[in-house]
């Protein structure tokens, strides 16, 4: 068989047929190419890990995990970013998992056979595959507008910026309004908008309100109105940033005839974990919800796969016993699919914890020295902190960034190990 085509070649009957030897050589050559390329992929991974290890190892210590960010590379720490990521991912998980599982159950178990509901189904499915392709930075912009600024419904919040103002009514019924300059047990120093710095004794105060003010409106004696945020003050005047209208205006204090403000809506008391203000600003809540948008398609797709893997016999059995659809789903199918659902949710969270672009857009780089205290606190997240370190001009901070990467990769490894363990439980469960 092998000699025949070779003979044909020599005679030149079929010039298109290559000899067996050359075909085998090509096959071998391609196999070698494949090996080389796949080895390359493994080498890339190895180089990546080694490069990060070498750079980051000496900065990795217990202090690195327990210090806050610093201007000095030796003292720079990851604590704020670590806890920020925990808070943001908690918000993301609490919102994305129920929504994603609900959507997947609706698509898989509540499939209508015909009519407009069927069209809705098909449209939702198409839509989810498109949502998965939207770049995360675009989600960031949507999150900024929808969550951080809430479409400007509650005032033109400039991301997380607001003025912390104190409104005092004194016992002689005069009113004092301004940012606090300091407080102690007996008095408050306040930068009153009309009279400037002023010490108010606590015993003179009749009532006190604290407000986060989004915009101030000053009516001057000549009737003009200035609306904006305070950016600074001098004894004689207030410096007001008017946003889009054209920059900074100085308002002389003695010319202020009237004052009005738009405050944030506050729910709960400040300092408690569930304290929330509207709009959310660039805090934990807005960032967590934005990440929810990013990972929602992943949760939906993985949950659908887990639901599809549940044998049809379970559904038929439940239906035959007269279970309603929800009884079937909640007592048979979801428990059977739970390991798969959880694996998908964990992998979605590992995507969320590594996402930097949406958080960058919603919150910007925040240099903070404390961990979040509530749902709308400012925060920093691990990938964002790594980005800002890697972006610094000093070479030492590259090492600090590498140490941050090591911590982030360790957290991701824990997530992946958890997913693998759960997946193996699943396989055992089905074979038993």
């Amino acid at each position: 068989m092998t000699s025949l085509p070779a003979q044909g070649h020599t005679v030149g009957v079929d010039a298109r047929t290559r000899s067996d030897a050359s075909r085998r050589a090509a096959d071998k050559g391609f196999w070698l190419l494949c090996l080389a390329v796949t080895t390359l992929a493994s080498i890339i991974l190895a180089v990546l890990v080694v490069a990060v290890m070498v750079q980051g190892w000496k900065y990795l210590s217990w202090d690195f995990l327990s210090n806050y960010a610093s201007r000095f590379p030796e003292q720079a720490g990851f604590k704020a970013a670590l806890w920020g990521s925990v808070w943001v991912c908690a918000v993301c998980a609490v919102t994305a998992v129920p929504l994603g599982v609900g959507t997947a159950v609706f698509l898989e178990e509540y499939g209508p056979k015909s009519g407009p509901a069927r069209k809705l189904h098909e449209f939702v499915q198409l839509n989810i595959s498109n949502l998965a392709g939207v770049p995360s930075v675009v989600y960031g912009i949507i999150g900024l507008t929808a969550f951080a600024r809430m479409f400007g419904l509650f005032g033109p919040a400039n991301i997380s910026n607001y003025d912390d103002m104190i409104f005092l009514t004194l016992k002689d019924s005069t009113r004092v309004v301004g940012p606090s300059l300091g407080e102690d047990d007996t008095s408050i120093v306040i930068d009153d908008i009309r009279s400037g710095e002023r010490v108010v004794s606590l015993s003179d105060i009749d009532s006190r309100k604290d407000r986060y003010v989004l915009t101030h409106t000053f009516t001057l004696q000549d009737g003009t109105r200035v609306e904006g945020r305070l950016t600074g003050s001098s004894p004689k005047s207030l410096r007001v940033f008017t946003g889009s209208a054209g920059g900074v205006v100085d308002v002389p204090r003695e010319k202020i005839a009237g004052y009005d403000y738009r405050a944030m809506i506050e729910i709960g008391s400040r300092g408690t974990p569930f304290y929330v203000h509207l709009p959310f600003g660039g805090g934990v809540m807005a960032a967590g919800l934005t990440l929810m948008l990013v990972v929602l398609p992943i949760v939906i797709v993985s949950t659908r796969e887990a639901l599809r893997a549940v044998p049809a016999s379970l559904r038929e059995g439940a239906r035959a016993l007269g279970a309603t659809r929800w009884q079937m789903v909640s007592r048979m199918i979801l428990p059977a699919a739970l390991p798969g659902v959880m694996t998908g949710a964990i992998l979605a969270m590992s995507r969320a914890i590594g996402e930097a672009a949406p958080i960058l857009v919603v919150s910007g780089i925040v240099f903070i020295m404390n961990t979040p205290s509530g749902l709308t606190s400012d925060f920093s997240a691990m990938p964002l902190q790594i980005f800002s370190w890697a972006n610094m001009p000093q070479e030492e901070f590259k090492g600090v960034a590498a140490a941050g990467i090591l911590v982030l990769l360790a957290v991701l490894a824990c997530f992946n190990i958890a997913a693998v363990v759960i997946r193996q439980r699943l396989q055992k469960g089905l074979t038993a």
Binding site: R23, R24, A26, D27, W31, L33, C34, V37, T38, A41, S42, L45, L48, A51, P98, G102, T103, F106, L107, Y110, S129, N130, L131, G133, V134, P135, V137, V138, G140, I141, I142, L144, R149, P156, N158, I159, F241, G243, S244, T324, R325, W326, L347, S350, R351, G354, E355, A356, A357, L360, V361, G364, I386, F387, A390, A402, I405, L408, L409, L412
Partner: protein, 316 residues
């Protein structure tokens, strides 16, 4: 059938079973509705994306210093220079496609060859090693790839030639590595979906593995492979952190990969890092750029899914 129990209800005291049945029906209704609302929420996200991008981009074009013609045709993007602001988007688009093009040149051949190897050549033991490595690569956050570009790829390139500290090549290679697992796993899915009978037929007439792979399996899976390419390209176009770290921040209409460029995503990152005032024209320009980026990635994703769907119709 439905009237009977209610008639009984009206006359006699409801039995326990009837009450529980009614309660059950109500509960089913509530659950149905809330599940449907979950599904509708995903539609709302799309609506919100289109609404926000469209209205804010419209506000951008209404600004006196901006015209749509300049945006669509201008070759200078200079939003931050006080008096002489220029909003011609082409440098950003060119930067985006330069970086994504380099990424495609890295990811497509390597991804496809790895996919062919995994699907047609590799035994189960090799697969057991390679698949987790690819999954690991897929799970690495993009900011880590950006760091990798900055500390490993860029110094390597600089030792080879006259590269800038920030350059399109370094970012492109890192984006390519990031896209590699996507190309590979989607292409492999397409290759594995080709029916065995085609392979067996090709082997029966004396084909080597290379003949079977390149002349039978790859052509049969071509639309799936093209879909994989398109989806990976959409990811490359939308990638932000790698280009923000490694590509530079100078909008530059060039095809020279040694120079620094700014991509659409890189521009957005720069503006939001600098805390541009809300309502300012630079800030609004981000929405116009995001709208354009959304149109690009949406186009690639839809094209990818369209091609993939046609492929599925052929073999399933």
């Amino acid at each position: 059938m439905t009237t009977l129990p209610t008639a009984q209800h009206a006359t006699a005291a409801p039995t326990g079973r009837a009450r529980s049945r009614r309660w059950r029906a109500a509960r089913e209704g509530v659950i149905n509705t809330s599940l449907a609302l979950c599904a509708v929420f995903s539609l709302l996200i799309t609506v919100a994306i289109v609404y926000v991008l469209a209205t804010e981009a419209f506000r951008f074009f209404q600004r006196p210093e901006v015209t749509f013609t300049e945006f669509a045709t201008g070759a200078t993007w200079q939003p931050l220079l006080g008096s002489e602001k220029k909003f011609g988007v082409w440098p950003l688009v060119a930067g985006t496609f330069l970086v994504s093009g380099i990424a495609a040149l890295v990811a497509l051949p390597i991804g496809l060859i790895t996919a062919i190897y995994l699907s047609e050549y590799a035994g189960p033991r090799v697969r057991a090693i390679l698949k987790p490595i690819l999954e690991l690569l897929a799970g690495i956050p993009t900011v880590v790839y950006g760091y990798f570009a900055l500390v490993a790829i860029t110094p390597g390139l600089k030792s080879l030639g006259n590269f800038d500290t920030y350059n399109a090549m370094s970012a492109g290679i890192a984006v390519g590595i990031m896209c590699l697992p996507i190309v590979c796993s989607l292409s492999e899915d397409a290759l594995r979906a080709v029916p065995r009978s085609l392979r067996e037929g090709a082997y029966a007439v004396g084909g080597t593995r290379l003949d079977v792979s390149l002349r039978v399996v790859v052509p049969a899976a071509l639309s799936g492979i093209i879909a994989a390419f398109l989806l990976a390209f959409a990811r490359a176009v939308g990638e932000t952190m790698i280009v923000a770290l490694a590509a530079g921040s100078l909008p530059n209409l060039t095809a020279d990969p040694r120079q620094q460029v700014q991509t659409m995503t890189g521009y957005m990152a720069q503006i939001f890092l600098g805390d541009a005032p809300a309502g300012g024209v630079e800030y609004l320009s981000c929405y116009a750029v995001a709208a354009l980026l959304f149109l690009f990635t949406f186009g690639f994703t839809v094209a990818g899914h369209f091609v993939m769907k046609r492929f599925r119709e052929v073999y399933q």
